[in-house]
């Protein structure tokens, strides 16, 4: 295992985060704060409790997930797309490193950033609404697993994309709708039966549900099932990445 190389890629990516601190951390925090002001305080004050939890508190886990999902995907995809675009990927390809090590560097950095971001949003939310976390360790576990799995997805998108448009279209057109429709702002039991069934095909439902359980001990779907779904998702992503590197898909001709 080439630890020095993993560290080099990881630190390079984290340096990019610090350079673009405003964009990386401040803007998601700002937009999340706006959500809390609008949905949590303004609208939330007129909403009934869900599962015995005030609406403002109910949406906290969903909002964190929303940001973590989109940021993981876009950071990770950007991280690997840029060297491809600028040509500096030659250095990665000609270095004595394996595909796994490359992934660990890039995905590790993107996931770390998302985890930090998630925790910052958690603290920000605490300023707006009162809530407590019932299972902190599980909360962290869900946060880490989600960050890692969607950073893996972002990595795949970054390798697949051959234009900036494609790079942006997936987080915008796929991840965001899935996140919105994944029960971030409501319990899926509030939907008509047909939509409840359709929603179960949305992987984000399991993330949000599991994450919310770690806060309040209530969930839309079984927690064990949530974990299993995340595991399946990670395995699929890893499989696709392994295939990409084996065939040199879009990185090596």
């Amino acid at each position: 295992m080439n630890i020095h190389a993993i560290k080099a890629i990881y630190l390079f990516e984290m340096a990019r985060t610090w350079r673009t601190l405003m964009q990386s951390i401040a803007s998601p925090v700002l937009s999340t704060s706006l959500y809390f002001i609008v949905f949590g305080s303004a609208i939330g004050s007129r909403m009934a409790e869900i599962d015995g939890i005030s609406y403002g508190a109910y949406i906290v886990p969903g909002l964190i997930m929303l940001t973590v999902l989109t940021e993981s995907t876009s950071n990770s995809s950007f991280g690997i797309y840029m060297p491809k675009f600028s040509g500096t990927i030659y250095e990665i390809l000609s270095a004595p490193i394996s595909a796994l090590e490359i992934v660990m560097g890039y995905v590790g950095a993107a996931a770390s950033k998302s985890i930090v971001l998630g925790l910052i949003i958690l603290l920000t939310a605490r300023l707006f609404v009162d809530f407590s976390v019932a299972h902190p360790v599980w909360m962290l576990a869900f946060l880490i697993l989600t960050s890692v799995s969607f950073s893996l997805l972002g990595f795949i998108i970054g390798i697949w994309a051959d234009s900036f448009e494609k790079l942006q279209v997936v987080p915008l057109m796929v991840i965001a709708p899935l996140a919105f429709l994944g029960g971030s702002f409501y319990s899926i039991h509030m939907l008509p039966p047909l939509w409840q069934t359709i929603t179960l095909f949305n992987p984000v439902v399991y993330l949000v549900s599991g994450f919310r359980w770690s806060f309040y001990g209530v969930s839309d779907v079984n927690v064990g099932f949530s974990l299993a779904m995340i595991a399946v998702f990670i395995v699929i992503c890893l499989g696709i990445i392994a295939w990409m590197f084996r065939t040199g898909y879009k990185i090596k001709v």
Binding site: H4, A5, A8, I9, L11, S86, T88, S94, P96
Partner: protein
Amino acid sequence: MHPIISIQNLSKTYPSGFQALKSISLDIQPGEIFALLGPNGAGKTTLISIICGIVNPGDGRVLADGLDIVTQYREARQRIGLVPQELSVAIFETVWDTLKFSRGLSGKPMDKAYLEQLLRDLSLWDKRHNKIMTLSGGMKRRVLIAKALAHQPRILFLDEPTAGVDVELRRDMWQMIRKLRESGVTIILTTHYIEEAEEMADRIGVINKGELVLVEEKAALMKKLGQKQLTLQLQKPLDGIPTSLADFPLTLTQNGEQLIYTYDEQNEKNRIAELLRQLSALHVEFRDLKTSQSSLEDIFVSLVEEK
């Protein structure tokens, strides 16, 4: 001594169906400077990219220091440094950070003293805290060289290192390349500047349309293919070449004022004296004479045109 790079029947067909390399076989000896010449699109960059792991190899195989570049890529790549043809470097980074990054990728532990010396040698030490986007093209090229050397490779590939580099800097680079070789690094460079190959290389390979058409010691190449010409500036123009001189390869310029004798330096030792004696006997007198030797460029052009 086993070759430091051994290319064995290497072919490459791009997914487009274009065959960029046609069964190339070539051994590079440790410590030599090897120049790869060839017109645009000949396959130079393709060959280098395969050895460095940037392009997938087709048939055949390549050993670097006896290590297979595919199955033993880790060990092989640790020995190899690459300065790419394109100026691709992360422009938002500082010189020092990008160098540290390169060192890290190789898996070798950080060595500040070595990296400092490297930057000093390349006159980049003063620029170490500058972002790369603030550097000139020539400086960026040197940053790429520093990155390629950050892990102390035994083999260095330079893909057109002096493209777009001014005369002074080019001399500096040649100097640096020689110093590297003295320290035991094997150097493979591509270039479009024939004088560069002539100046630097121990051996020269010419590649054209994916085929290695020639590999030769530079000196031997110059000798073997280097034609010499003796030009005689005549006192009085001649109407034609005298018939008694018919077995000399002579040409007369249109105005009849210059007589040109083309010869191979090696086989024709005494013929010049013979020619001059005969000319004197025929009372053909000349004001001036000069000899000239064909350059690598002439050799190269004639080789590529033949195909």
